[in-house]
Every structure is written in structure tokens, then in C-alpha cells.
């Protein structure tokens, strides 16, 4: 049983953004502007645990992106993924979520014999969280999103605990499945020193559109969504009003007055 984890390289959580002529750029005060999408760390960890605890033979990391995405894939290898594949082609640029789903589905099919494909909840750049279900549709597999625990993988089926809008459900589904993960699933490990050395020596192959027999349905031309208009979040209006008084009780009274006036209580 092979397990695939789909990951994306994103700006770091501490990055400062600027927008000029419709292009978004960012810098990071810590000097590490790009990271593995933080939500993906739980999916990567779970892929490795499926190998360690549930009999998966391979834990393969896949990333769609340009050459710089190799760094994210190296992190996956350093954590313990057995293989990493960069899926990259000029024709992929500007894909909408459905285009990306087509690319990922083709890559997962190309790996072959995959029973579980894992995703993070969403990527912290686009923040849409659409690719999990859409990739499942393109594969024809069952999507299970917001997975908080994997309880059992046995007899060709999987039992997971999912978060829902009202609580939690335990769900059983036959393999293959696409899983969207949440933070509660596990505590991601840090890459080990040996892992980092191994990752630096590993060969990460690149699969192109031709390798995957992708002909259309991807890239900017096929995108049905225009998200080119990106701009800075307008700052909050006005300055903070610091409430000062002789006693904390008086401060509380003044603040309460303000909040009743604002009609938020």
C-alpha cells in the first residue's frame, strides 16, 4: 500500500507582504521566506506514521510548483518520507483549484497503487481548501475532509474520525481515499540530522505534463477563476482608545459603556 502526501511551498507565517502592479511579493524578517505549508505538516507526519504503524510501503511526497518547491520536498524527505516528486511544467502556471486537482490526480495515478492521498486542510497563501475534494473527484475516490484521527486501516478500508460542523463523526470508507487533515491529527516531528543529510543527497525527479499525459484543462488558459486583483488589507480605521481611570472598576465601567454604545453586547 502506497501513501501519497500532497504538499505546497508557501510564504512563511511571519512573512511581510507587499503588492505592486498586481504582483505579490514577500520578505521574511527571519530570512526564511518560504516554508512547507504549515497545514501540510500534519499530513506529512501522518503519511510517515501510516508507513510506521499501518503497513504502508511508501510515503511519497508530491508538490506542484516551480523549482523552488524542491525545498519543501526536501523537508518532507528529511522528516521521513521515502520519496519526493516535483510536478512541474510551464503549462501548469496559473491553474485554478480544478486545474491543480487535475495535475495532482494525474500524478497520483502515475505513482500507481496508491491507497491513501493526504492533504493539509488548506494552503496558507490561497486559503481556499478546495483541492482536497476536487482531487478526489478527479481520481474518483472518496474524499474525507477534516480528519482528526485515523483509527484503523484494515481489510481494504479505513476508519477515521472527522470534525463536522456539529461535532465529530467516525466514518468508515473503502480504500482508496483522499484525506484532508487537521491539526489535531498529530504532532509533526522535526527533521532529524540524519534525515536532513539524507534529504540533501536524495534525487527528486521532475514529472512534466508530457510524463503525466496531461493535455489541456490546466494552467491559466483553462482557469475559470480570475484572482488577479490582490491588494493590501485596509488598516483598521482610527487609533486605539486607551481607557484610563483611577481604578480598575472605573475602567471596567467606562469600557462597558462604550461596548453597549457600540451595540456589540
Amino acid at each position: 500500500m502506497k501513501v501519497v502526501v500532497c504538499t505546497k511551498q508557501t510564504p512563511s507565517t511571519t512573512a511581510d507582504f507587499s503588492v505592486g502592479n498586481g504582483a505579490v511579493s514577500w520578505e521574511d524578517p527571519g530570512g526564511k521566506p518560504n516554508v512547507v505549508n504549515p497545514w501540510d505538516e500534519y499530513a506529512i507526519e501522518e503519511a510517515i506514521r501510516l508507513k510506521e504503524n499501518h503497513g504502508a510501503t511508501d510515503a511519497i511526497a508530491i508538490s506542484v510548483g516551480d523549482e523552488s518547491s524542491r525545498d519543501a520536498l526536501k523537508t518532507c524527505l528529511a522528516m521521513g518520507c521515502t520519496e519526493a516528486i516535483l510536478v512541474s511544467d510551464e503549462s501548469f502556471a496559473g491553474s485554478d483549484s480544478l486545474g491543480t486537482a487535475r495535475i495532482l490526480a494525474a500524478a497520483i495515478n502515475h505513482v500507481g497503487d496508491v491507497q491513501i492521498a493526504l492533504f493539509g486542510k488548506q494552503a496558507i497563501d490561497g486559503d481556499s481548501g478546495q483541492t482536497v475534494v476536487q482531487t478526489a473527484r478527479k481520481l474518483g475516490w472518496t474524499p474525507l475532509t477534516f480528519v482528526a484521527a485515523i483509527k484503523e486501516v484494515a481489510g481494504g478500508s479505513i476508519t477515521v474520525e472527522r470534525l463536522t460542523d456539529e461535532g465529530r463523526v467516525s466514518v468508515t470508507a473503502p480504500l482508496p481515499v483522499v484525506l484532508g487533515t487537521v491539526k489535531e491529527l498529530n504532532e509533526p516531528r522535526y527533521p532529524s540530522f540524519m534525515g536532513i543529510r539524507k534529504a540533501n543527497r536524495a534525487t527528486i525527479p521532475t514529472w512534466t505534463a508530457a510524463d503525466l499525459d496531461i493535455d489541456g484543462g490546466v494552467g491559466a488558459a483553462a482557469s475559470k477563476v480570475d484572482w488577479s486583483n490582490v491588494y493590501a488589507m485596509p488598516g483598521r480605521e482610527g487609533e486605539v482608545e486607551i481607557i484610563e481611570a483611577d481604578s480598575v472598576e472605573e475602567q471596567a465601567r467606562i469600557l462597558a459603556d462604550k461596548l453597549f454604545e457600540e451595540k456589540v453586547i
Binding site: T142, V171, N229, Q251, L259, V264, I265
Partner: protein
């Protein structure tokens, strides 16, 4: 048949809050486009939900009353909405961005080969096109997004649109059969656990939230008391969750929940950019912090520089006197 559709999520015979918001937003879109609004009502024993959808302003209701739809499984709902959309060709399909709403819109857009915009916080109609505003890059930037061709599938962030109100409208729903038999639905629900007590963060109109300054698990007690007095949910920063003082389900921020309450009271939270990403769309933010230079004061409307262990109990006292 009308050409703006809205997914009417329901539970125990009642329309969920996020769907009331979606109906309100979809009504606006339908009016701007000069089209009728159709509510999609699915579940078991949902005829009263259909009546409620009419009352909230739907012109038509397309519904399916079937046992397979009661668990909210996307493999049952998705094919049904896809088939209905292929038959009726709506121009716009809108849903609240609940967990089920997100799953359903992604499924439907994939199968219809349609453009999808998720988690929108504002909508405008420009000619035939819906222009949606959504936060990107963890809420640090905004984007105006639109579907360039074909069906427009849109999900809406909770608590960012006003709920539809009762109109007194009535009508007769059109009931159709489910399209997937139970035997053909891959996933089976084998256990169910209701959310533990307390107010859910994403639905809460007031949130009292604590960070590093709370100092330990017992430090959340005064916050809990203030939350109870205000009928508020209890939130936390990542620092407090990572320290093990409070469970993850309370975390607000980039790797926690995104919330848009009317009032957010941040106690002992410095206001790191990752935390701001989860709460900056709150209508009013109050910051209580010892450190007058904490970034949270740049975001807040009202601030008290002081020890939260003095200020929070004083607020509880003040509000319990006035809210009786």
C-alpha cells in the same frame, strides 16, 4: 426555474445560521441579477425546512427527502446537486462555507467543470458576474475574485453576511428523488459525538480570548467567568494552546479557527500576525495587556493597559450587574 441557487443546510428541522446568512446574500445576488432565488433543501423529514426557506425569501425550493441525506455526506449530496444543476442550469450556486458547504461546493464545481470561489467575505454584482472579496495570504491581503465563464460556485465565510429575515413568503417545494442509493455511498457513519457544551467559536457573537499572559491553565478561569457572563465563547492564542493550557479547539489564528465575532476581547494576547489572521475581521476588538507596546493595541478599538487578573474580574463584575 430560477438561476440563483442557495444550499439550505439544516439540522433537526432548523436552518443553520450560516445558511440563513447564505440565503440573505443569495437573495441580494438574485435581486441584482433580476432572477429568482431557489433554495436547495436536503435531508430526512425536511418539509418544514422548505417552508422556512420560503419564509426567509426563497422564491422556489428544490428538495429531496431521503434517509441517505440525513448524515450530510458529500457523496450523497454532491451527485444530487450536480444532476439538478445539469437539468436546470443555474447561473450561480451559493453555500455557506461550513465544513459541509465547502465539501459540497468543491464537489459540484469539479463535476460541473465550474469556477469556484470559497470563503468570501463580501459580494457585489457587476452585470452578470458576481465579484467576491476574500482574504488571502492568511488574511494579510484581500483579493477580488470572479468566475470568468459558466456556472459561478461560491461559498461564504460564516458571520460576515447578515442573516435573512422572515418575509412571510410561502410556496410549494418541488420534491425530487435522491440519486445515490445507500449501497452506492462509499462512506458509512459508524459513530457520532455531539460538540461538548459551551458556545462554538465560529458561531459566537462575542469571544473572550487568552494568550501567553494568562500564565497557565488556571489563568483561564477568570476569562471563563467573563465569557459565561457575556454568553461568549472562549478563545486562545497559539502560545496558550501550545503550552497545553487549553485544548486546540479553542485556538484562534492562522493555524486555528478564523472568527468574525461582533466583539473580541483579547486578554494577555500580544497579537502576533498569525493571531491577527484569525480575528481581525471582528467588528470591535478590545485589548487587555500589561505591555502598552503589544501589537494587539494597533488592531484594537479599545484598550486597557493593565493586569488581566485585575481587569477581567472587574469586567465580569460590571457586566453581571448590568446584564441581569
Amino acid at each position: 426555474m430560477s438561476s440563483v441557487w442557495v444550499f439550505v443546510e439544516n439540522r433537526d428541522g432548523a436552518i443553520s445560521t450560516i445558511s440563513k446568512e447564505a440565503i440573505g446574500a443569495a437573495r441580494y445576488v438574485a435581486d441584482e441579477l433580476g432572477e429568482d432565488l431557489t433554495g436547495l433543501v436536503f435531508g430526512e423529514a425536511v418539509s418544514n425546512v422548505a417552508d422556512a426557506a420560503f419564509d426567509l425569501g426563497c422564491d422556489d425550493v428544490l428538495g429531496t427527502d431521503d434517509e441517505t441525506l440525513k448524515d450530510g455526506r458529500v457523496e450523497a449530496l454532491g451527485p444530487l446537486v450536480v444532476k439538478l444543476a445539469q437539468e436546470h442550469e443555474p447561473a450561480v450556486i451559493i453555500a455557506g462555507a461550513s465544513i459541509l458547504g465547502r465539501d459540497l461546493t468543491a464537489w459540484v464545481a469539479a463535476d460541473l467543470d465550474a469556477g469556484l470561489i470559497s470563503d468570501c467575505i463580501a459580494l457585489e454584482v457587476d452585470d452578470e458576474t458576481v465579484r467576491a472579496t476574500r482574504p488571502v495570504y492568511a488574511g494579510k491581503l484581500l483579493s477580488t475574485v470572479f468566475v470568468t465563464v459558466g456556472v459561478q460556485v461560491i461559498s461564504l465565510r460564516s458571520r460576515t453576511f447578515p442573516q435573512a429575515e422572515s418575509t412571510g413568503n410561502t410556496g410549494t417545494a418541488e420534491w425530487v428523488d435522491a440519486v445515490v442509493d445507500e449501497d452506492d455511498i462509499p462512506s458509512k457513519v459508524v459513530g457520532y459525538e455531539e460538540q461538548a457544551g459551551g458556545v462554538s467559536l465560529t458561531d459566537a457573537s462575542i469571544i473572550v480570548s487568552g494568550g501567553r499572559g494568562v500564565g497557565g491553565p488556571e489563568g483561564f478561569e477568570p476569562l471563563r467567568e467573563l465569557a459565561e457572563t457575556l454568553g461568549a465563547a472562549l478563545g486562545a492564542s497559539r502560545a496558550a494552546v501550545d503550552a497545553g493550557w487549553i485544548p486546540y479547539e479553542h485556538q484562534v489564528g492562522q493555524t486555528g479557527k478564523t472568527v468574525s465575532p461582533d466583539l473580541y476581547i483579547a486578554c494577555g494576547i500580544s497579537g502576533a500576525i498569525q493571531h491577527q489572521a484569525g480575528m481581525r475581521t471582528a467588528k470591535v476588538i478590545v485589548a487587555i495587556n500589561k505591555d502598552a507596546d503589544a501589537p494587539i493595541f494597533k488592531l484594537a478599538q479599545y484598550g486597557i493597559v493593565g493586569d488581566l487578573f485585575d481587569v477581567v474580574p472587574a469586567l465580569t463584575e460590571e457586566f453581571s450587574g448590568r446584564l441581569d
